[in-house]
């Protein structure tokens, strides 16, 4: 194959796949114990 006259040298970087940010863990709410009555 003949690519003709070389006119440029380039560095080709592939597109980065967008990184998926994982969903945050759902906040687990601990049941708040009612203070003991004295």
């Amino acid at each position: 194959m003949n690519i003709g006259e070389i006119v440029r040298e380039v560095e080709v970087l592939p597109d980065q796949e967008p990184q998926r940010i994982p969903d945050p863990e759902p906040v687990r709410e601990e049941p708040v114990e009612a203070p003991e009555r004295v």
């Binding site: 194959m1 003949n2 690519i3 003709g4 006259e5 070389i6 006119v7 440029r8 040298e9 380039v10 560095e11 080709v12 970087l13 592939p14 597109d15």
Partner: protein, 180 residues
């Protein structure tokens, strides 16, 4: 050639492969490099009169491709036009012959990564991967087609125009191939 420019994405280009009996795509004219379905790395090859192509013992300082050499993965910016005279070189065969059992050649699109030398008519690249194929509408999608699909699972078109519209080089390659 001016300073190295950075391009994000990938350069696309048209090229031929030879299809072997096991469904592998091979570089058809030099070295018979067997293309992996993913990224392939070029090596500078040499050949003595009666020996096979093999990696050069003195590789280029920056690796392949080198401006002073012919090495690297090749592809063209445009589909070669049909010829109305006998072809002088193997790659001058019309793309309608892609998938022809007698010729054993398949036309398609490759994407280049890494260091790439861009010419007025095509490019030579350090890394490349096959991304789409043409299987001429007059050739049966037979066992060879099934083999290559099993290996590469590439989108395959029956018409060159459809291949070009979906996967062909665009203005990025056209801009880069104009004189610096």
């Amino acid at each position: 050639v001016s300073a190295v420019e950075l391009v994000i994405g990938g350069l696309r280009g048209y090229r031929w492969w030879r299809l072997d009996a096991d469904g592998w795509l091979l570089s058809p004219w030099r070295g018979r490099h067997r293309w992996a379905p993913g990224v392939n790395h070029a090596a500078c090859l040499f050949k003595r009169r009666f020996t096979k192509w093999r990696p050069s013992k003195s590789p280029h300082p920056l690796g392949s491709p080198s401006i002073e050499c012919d090495c690297g993965f090749y592809a063209l910016h445009a589909i070669p036009p049909p010829r109305d005279h006998p072809s002088r070189f193997g790659w001058e065969v019309g793309v309608h012959a892609s998938g022809d059992r007698r010729l054993g050649l398949v036309f398609g699109v490759a994407a280049a990564h890494g260091r790439v030398l861009v010419g007025t008519d095509g490019w030579r690249a350090e890394m490349a991967r096959p991304i789409a194929l043409l299987w001429g509408s007059e050739h049966a999608m037979d066992d060879r087609f099934e083999s290559v699909q099993a290996r590469y699972a590439l989108p395959t078109y029956r018409q060159a125009q459809a291949l070009a519209e979906e996967w062909g080089p665009d203005e990025v390659e056209r801009d880069l191939s104009s004189a610096a």
